[in-house]
Symmetry: C2
């Protein structure tokens, strides 16, 4: 199980750099998802993350493919309003492409278009989507069986949910407020990592 | 004198496509400057402009370097909040780079960083910047003498101003509301073109 940490767009640049540089060793990928920031601001933040010791390949930038390409980071996360997966695959062949999906149909199409991995959610109730009904695990399970690229679950994932997700074929979890809003983000990230390892070893025992 | 037409972010996609496809033969460059639209929306509009017969090299996309690169258009226009000129020059060598500048210092720096042309303004009073004092032509004249890349003037430029600008070394004019908000955009664009030609011939007579 991979751990993707996703920024919440609520921190100052200094807070972001401080939190992410302190937790990155616990995370497989860090998504810089700062929708209200300009290209220049995102560029400057990501430059500071790299200077702070985060390996560029660990970094994924939401929507701004140009910033990701300029900085040579690992990849981009594309939403509905972003450039399409096939366009990015063709014009930016060096980038990993994460695609955010909300249905089985979207998941299958994204894989066909060339996505490297999928983010599906929100799976459980979460403060950040409190007025939307969570999608649950049924469709997620079907997607995980249907596609061959990794499916990452997002939305209300507590460390305790990791085993359930692992057991239905999910390859990773993405956490936003569970880490970014934690009193001690490093402690929270470590707890997720411990549970991912436990989930991993549980499965090997089966 | 080149004519750059700049979209105003106030039209529907259909209106934009209709206006721009009708006037493009009168313009040297068309800037798609739609700050409130997503990458996906800008991509779709520019695709329609190309399908509608506008040569891709005539098209310049504001801020979204990724969209420009994906569609193989002529260039990008970078603002203060955009990726930097030198980063774009390095990572996207095929694109022409326009940089928006507001002072002599910014102009000189943008040329050194690798800009292909400069947009300086706003020069005259304009409805779209009615609370800001226009910059006038003095600094513009100094910039046009100092840099070797083309300097394009923007802001409140009526067809009658073309000669004055030509005479101080400006290489082009950029027009937004003068064409986009005109009752008859094609007629307005043609009037600008006629005056540009006249300004050109006046100068040749000197």
């Amino acid at each position: 199980m991979k751990l993707h940490v996703i920024t919440d767009g609520k921190r100052t640049a200094d807070e972001l750099v401080s939190i992410l540089c302190s937790i990155h060793s616990q995370a497989d990928h860090i998504h810089v998802r700062e929708k209200n920031r300009s290209a220049k601001e995102i560029y400057q933040i990501v430059e500071r993350l790299i200077d702070g010791g985060i390996p560029p390949k660990k970094l994924i930038i939401n929507d701004r493919v140009d910033v990701a390409h300029s900085l040579g980071v690992g990849g981009v996360q594309l939403a509905y309003h972003s450039l399409g997966v096939s366009e990015v695959r063709k014009s930016f062949p060096d980038l990993q492409i994460g695609k955010s999906v909300h249905s089985y149909q979207e998941a299958v199409e994204a894989e066909q278009a060339g996505a490297s991995f999928l983010l599906y959610g929100h799976v459980y109730s979460t403060m950040s989507k409190e007025h939307l009904k969570p999608r649950g695990v049924e469709e997620l399970k079907a997607i995980a069986s249907a596609v061959s690229i990794p499916v990452i679950a997002i939305g209300g994932i507590t460390p305790e949910k990791t085993s359930e997700l692992k057991n239905i074929g999910v390859k990773g979890i993405a956490v936003m407020s569970g880490i970014m809003s934690a009193k001690d983000p490093l402690k929270a990230a470590t707890l997720y990592q411990t549970n991912r390892r436990k989930a991993g070893s549980d499965e090997r025992k089966l």
